[in-house]
């Protein structure tokens, strides 16, 4: 068909209702709905900041069971930061999401929290690495994608400012993943104190060049733009978590915390920013979180890795975990000791042999001397010329 014909025919088709390109989003919708999606969320923070409760509140189901006392006591003596992954499949109106929640018990809980963010950072980078490797395989079907799409950092509401530990950890984490700072247990700060604290935290984040997740503000309609603006201005989000329902003074049943002096409601915007955060994570910005992870953070990782490594080469392993270093040291000392012991044994054996040899040599010498002595005696007797000796001359 010639170009002019094509244009004229398309014009006529446009007049009659289009060729149906506009149907593509519907097709996409069907495909995506069937495929479902994969979402990984990480929660980082000291113990007792309400991470478990928050996750359970967010998902309105007890995904993570709180630890019992005995295990908690044992964990305190453990002095390590663990990575626990909880998997769930959420389904709503025929759309399903494979959700992964990554928990980090032990973070910042000890007297010495040196480098406690390293396991977190390593985990994030390992997921990128896994994905990179899988992408480079000949058969790319069935890729397991555990890349972390959002990391919630729970800040203790101490009312003053960020702790040095928070600053260092957030810097390291924010450079690699979408970092969303969250003020935990916000029901311990009065509104004025909370506002001040939020401002201080943002000041520190700016001054220290900590990279946090910036949600896109501009959107097609005015309503969304305004909502996005609200969300961004509320950062860091002040959170109250509760997985149980209580009755307020005026008879409503809400999710909240029942105090003698009132009920702090989870879903009340005057009380906390839970709804805004939920909106960010799930209702409105989930796609943005996923795409920024893939397009920005993962890509950054990929670029830096590919610059320094050849295609298909495994990642050079860094041996930097302090605990392992200690174990390595102990193993090494044990090994050296064992070697020393064996060497000593051999040395002693050698000495014994030498001593034995010397003794035998001495004996031999003695015998030799004896023989010589006898020989000389014989000579002497032979030379003295007695008649009896004539016999020996032969």
């Amino acid at each position: 068909m010639s170009a002019s014909d094509a244009s004229s025919s398309s014009k006529s088709q446009a007049a009659s209702g289009g060729i149906g390109i506009a149907n593509l989003p519907n097709q996409l919708h069907k495909i995506v709905t069937k495929k479902g999606t994969n979402f990984s969320l990480m929660v980082v923070g000291e113990s007792g900041t309400g991470k478990t409760t928050f996750i359970n509140t967010l998902l309105t189901t007890e995904l993570i069971e709180p630890l019992d006392d005995a295990s908690r006591r044992k964990k305190q003596l453990d002095k390590t930061v663990d990575i626990n992954i909880h998997k769930a499949e959420l389904e709503e109106k025929m759309f399903n999401v494979k959700l992964n929640v990554v928990d980090t018990p032990g973070f910042g809980d000890y007297v010495d929290n040196h480098d406690c963010w390293l396991p977190v950072v390593d985990f994030i980078e390992n997921q990128y690495e896994q994905y990179l490797r899988q992408e480079q395989q000949p058969v790319r079907k069935g890729i397991v994608d555990m890349r972390v799409h959002a990391c919630l950092y729970f800040i203790r509401p101490n009312g003053h400012t960020l702790k040095p530990l928070d600053v260092r950890a957030m810097k390291a984490i924010g450079a690699r993943v979408n970092l969303i700072p969250v003020i935990a247990k916000a029901d311990t700060l009065s509104p004025a104190a909370l506002r001040q604290f939020k401002k201080r935290v943002m000041d520190v984040i700016d001054a220290q060049s900590i990279r946090i997740y910036q949600s896109p503000i501009e959107s097609e309609d005015e309503h969304s733009t305004q909502r996005n603006k609200d969300i961004t201005s509320a950062m860091p989000f002040a959170i109250i978590g509760s997985d149980r329902e209580v009755k307020t003074a005026d008879g409503r049943h809400v999710k909240g915390r029942l105090y003698p002096w009132g009920v702090a409601e989870v879903e009340n915007d005057q009380h906390c920013d839970f709804k805004k955060l939920r909106s960010l994570l799930i209702r409105t910005h989930m796609l943005d979180l996923i795409s920024t992870t893939e397009e920005v953070h993962y890509d950054k990782y990929r670029t830096t890795q590919m610059k320094t490594r050849k295609f298909g080469e495994p990642k050079p392993r860094k041996v930097d975990n302090k605990k392992f270093r200690e174990e390595e040291e102990t193993l090494r000392t044990r090994f050296t000791e064992k070697v020393k012991l064996e060497e000593n044994r051999f040395r002693q054996w050698e000495q014994k042999l030498i001593a034995e040899r010397d003794r035998l040599n001495k004996d031999l010498e003695q015998e030799h001397n004896l023989v010589k002595q006898l020989e000389s005696e014989i000579e002497a007797i032979a030379n003295s010329g007695s008649p009896n000796t004539k016999f020996f001359r032969k």
Partner: protein, 338 residues
Amino acid sequence: MKEGSGDDQNVAPSVYSHVSRPGSHRYKNAKKGLPFNIMLVGESGLGRTTFLNTLCERMVVTPNDGPNPEQAHIAEPMQFKHHTVEMEEDGMKIILNIIDTPGFGNGIDNESCFNQIQDYLEAQFDEVLAEENRIKRNTKFRDSRVHALIYFITPTGHSLREIDIELMKRLGNRTNVIPVIARSDSLTPRELVLFKQRIMNDIAAFDIPVFNFPDPEEEDDDENSEENAELRAMLPFAVVGCEEVVNEDGRPVRVRNYPWGVVQVDNDEHSDFDRLRYVLLNSHIGDLRDRTQNELYELYRTEKLSGNAMASADQQQQQQQPEQHQAALAAQPRSVVA
């Protein structure tokens, strides 16, 4: 101030009653004021400064906002800040010396904080020890031994953390450690009860020496034992601090205002602050001072003096040892060492 004089010990026991009786505080130094030294230890933001101001009922320390944002990644080292306030409690004058410890637990590695505090406590004991051994003693000697250490526990709602356990264990033998749950208005009543239980379980499990209102041996007073038992059941005290005072029915009431309600600091249902204050400045001030003098100081003294004796014996032994060692070496047949 004459400290450690025998007369005080005999007079002290009558102070224990919850209801103050006139003339019950028969300390000789009533006119000059009884010195009482408290140390406040806890991570920043747990309300130490607010507690201090609320305890003294005046703004002793203005809360500061923390370091510059550009400096936020540097941990400020722990400091000891001294404040002295004269108080009058039930007709008794108290010279309250409060030692605040800003910077505790703020760094990434907090191991050194414990040693600093321990050194401070022992230094005060050393001063008293030195003073006792002087030929000519100073009658105006100021006793700066810490009578009570208030340790602020973060309200995680779970149980004690490593830093809590370590601190209380290490310092429990040098001073009376009183653990309190800071910012307890972040816990619902149910959570608070569970939290207190778990903390007490941990304290028992890890063998942590805290001040648990011991009944003095000579005393048969049931009322006091009852009171002590009651206080023991309340441990650790849950405190809420605030500096805002509103007028309610004409009376000044200390409150914290939240969108969902108002916390009254003085209300026993809302916080144990009042009870703790009474214990510290009124009912058990004598107990705390006596225990510091009679048990903790004596323990330190014994350790220090016997430690000295042991140290000098060790030294003598070591001087003799080299000679013995040489002799032993000479006696052995020389072995060939490859």
